[in-house]
């Protein structure tokens, strides 16, 4: 991840603060930074969302295409994730620099969504064994200030909520071949149920305590972090330890419990906000990228 250089004195100052539940910007250990979400920012996609979490900016676009289902599961569609760390974020990402980070982020997203309940894949089936909807979720990192996983997962949830997949009809033509017809009405579309989509919470271990939503400076002081993805019911879909240090088993249990608690409280306000934004409809003032 893009790193900042932090001196020893700064590290000590930060660790002492965290020990007393006070971080550099005045937050407590389990508070998130100010978050702004906007959906439907890119008109060419079927669903999109932009999130700014402090100075981290992430843009997610979802495009639905018709493809062939996977041979092992012919009656389900699937999701494909791709994360692009653009050179916009930091100069380190120029050329192939950001590829490693992008691959790591995509792999985690695949693991997080690798279960039956996150997204109802059966609803993405058009014709079993032949056609299905494939949702290409493309994530673009615009600015990087720590806590990429959390921002990306929230943005994906918002983008999937915003996705409108056109309804299709299968008709048989004269020779018996199947033909797919998209309905002409642009408002006749299918929505995805995002109730069970998990959100990722990254907890960084600093000293003896853990912090949620770490900035780059805080990340430079921590040796290991735990990534946990939680659904609104409190089910855990993916846990990973990141970083080059090791963790005590007791800290892992503590961090898992804290991560689950924080993650669970993230879902309800998010859904409420998304539904409120949608209910504004045409009256909504679009902020876009310059807000």
């Amino acid at each position: 991840m893009a790193a900042v250089q932090v001196s020893e004195a700064e590290k000590v100052y930060l660790m002492h603060g965290v020990r007393d539940d006070l971080r550099l910007d005045g937050r407590r250990c389990e508070d998130y930074r100010h978050m702004e979400i906007e959906t439907d920012v890119v008109s060419n996609t079927d669903g999109s969302a932009k999130i700014s979490l402090g100075h981290t900016d992430v843009l997610v676009g979802v495009k639905a295409e018709i493809g062939k289902p996977r041979p092992m599961v012919p009656d389900e569609g699937y999701l494909e994730f791709f994360v692009d760390c653009s050179a916009n974020a930091t100069p380190e990402f120029e050329g192939r620099g950001g590829e490693e980070l992008g691959v790591e982020l995509s792999n985690v997203l695949y693991k997080v969504f690798n279960n039956r309940h996150s997204v109802d894949l059966r609803s993405l089936c058009i014709c079993a064994g032949e056609n299905c909807w494939v949702l290409y979720v493309d994530v673009l990192l615009l600015q990087c200030d720590g806590n990429l996983f959390d921002a990306i997962s929230i943005a994906i949830k918002a983008a999937l909520f915003n996705t409108r997949i056109p309804k299709v009809r299968i008709s048989e033509d004269e020779e018996g071949g199947k033909e797919i017809e998209l309905s002409d009405d642009p408002y006749d579309c299918m929505r995805i149920n995002v109730e069970n989509v998990p959100c990722i919470v990254t907890l960084c271990k600093i000293g003896h305590r853990h912090v949620v939503d770490a900035t780059l400076q805080e990340k430079a002081c921590s040796v290991a972090s735990l990534l946990i993805s939680v659904t609104h019911k409190g089910m855990v879909t993916c846990v990973r330890k990141l970083g080059r240090g090791s963790l005590d088993p007791e800290s892992i249990f503590e961090m898992t419990e804290a991560g689950k608690r924080v993650g669970k409280t993230l879902h309800a306000p998010l859904m409420e906000l998304l539904q409120k934004e949608e209910s504004l409809g045409k009256k909504r003032q679009k902020v876009g990228f310059l807000g």
């Binding site: 409190g234 990973r240 970083g243 090791s246 963790l247």
Partner: protein, 270 residues
């Protein structure tokens, strides 16, 4: 995906005959048929010093899972643009041989393998004293010859044995243990058919797979990877069970390492 031009592959439209097999029922709790209990690790065969050209190497067999690992280094780093020259670097390469799984795998490294390499690196790094090898790089190459479940866990154990065999300084051996959760039963060290429901279709309710890498003497967890959908208390119990499994594996690894050392440097004859 890069296209492999060196091998003749079947036509694009061909499908594996495995798709037409009737699906295996996910095994029930008693399916281990008394051969081993739900909480038992499979018996492990481990030997070091297999590959004569490598600095250190190890071979591990657990049930039908066969893994071989070789360690090269410390070598000089090729890229000179590393800002932090005070510590060495560990490079891990995890590969599954194309004949290792039921379905023929591609020889070119897919994203799953890159993910496993990254997890292996994260699990091994806390155990190796990299500050003793500044400006150097240690390469760890793991190949899975036969995949019968828990490959990541056994690869971690095999790699740390190979590092020890190669004389690389470490704080402690890193041991790995895996667990498959299926509803309310948890199976330690699952075989491929016990893990099987996982890879193709995604997990059902309270089903998942947990892999833990532990440094037993320091009691520090260096790697944790959990997949599937589980409740938090189930996850906590699963991690505790894996930690016990790691401790059970320790004597075997100790024995294999002392045997390798005795062979390389035989005690003086009286």
């Amino acid at each position: 995906m890069p296209f492999d031009t060196r091998r003749i592959r079947g036509p694009e439209e061909s499908q594996s005959p495995l798709l037409f097999l009737s699906p295996d029922k996910v095994p029930e709790a008693s399916s281990r048929q008394g051969v081993r209990g739900n909480g038992d690790v499979r018996p492990v065969f481990a030997r070091c010093g297999l590959v004569s050209q490598a600095k250190g190497s190890a071979y591990l067999e657990a049930g039908n899972t066969k893994i071989i690992c070789s360690v090269y280094g410390p070598r000089e780093i090729e890229r000179k643009d590393e800002t932090d020259m005070k510590t060495g670097r560990l490079v891990c390469d995890f590969r599954l041989a194309p004949f290792s799984c039921m379905k023929r795998g591609a020889w070119i490294q897919g994203s799953e393998e890159r993910d496993l390499s990254a997890t292996l690196l994260e699990s091994l790094q806390p155990g190796v004293c990299l500050h003793r090898y500044p400006r150097s790089q240690i390469e760890v190459n793991v190949i899975v010859l036969e995949n019968d479940g828990s490959i990541l866990a056994h690869a971690v154990t095999c790699a740390s044995m190979a590092l020890a065999d190669g004389g690389i300084e470490m704080y402690d051996v890193v041991l790995g243990c895996a667990l498959g959760q299926n509803g309310n039963t948890c199976l330690v060290d699952p075989s491929h058919s016990e893990e099987c429901g996982s890879w193709h279709e995604g997990y059902g309710e309270n089903r998942g797979c947990v892999t833990v890498a532990l440094l037993p003497n320091l009691n520090q967890v260096s790697g944790l990877n959990a997949d599937g959908e589980m409740r938090e208390d189930t996850l906590t119990d699963a991690v505790r069970t894996c930690l016990d499994g790691c401790h059970k594996l320790y004597p075997v690894v100790q024995q294999a390492l002392t045997r390798a050392v005795k062979r390389k440097a035989p005690p003086p004859e009286k």
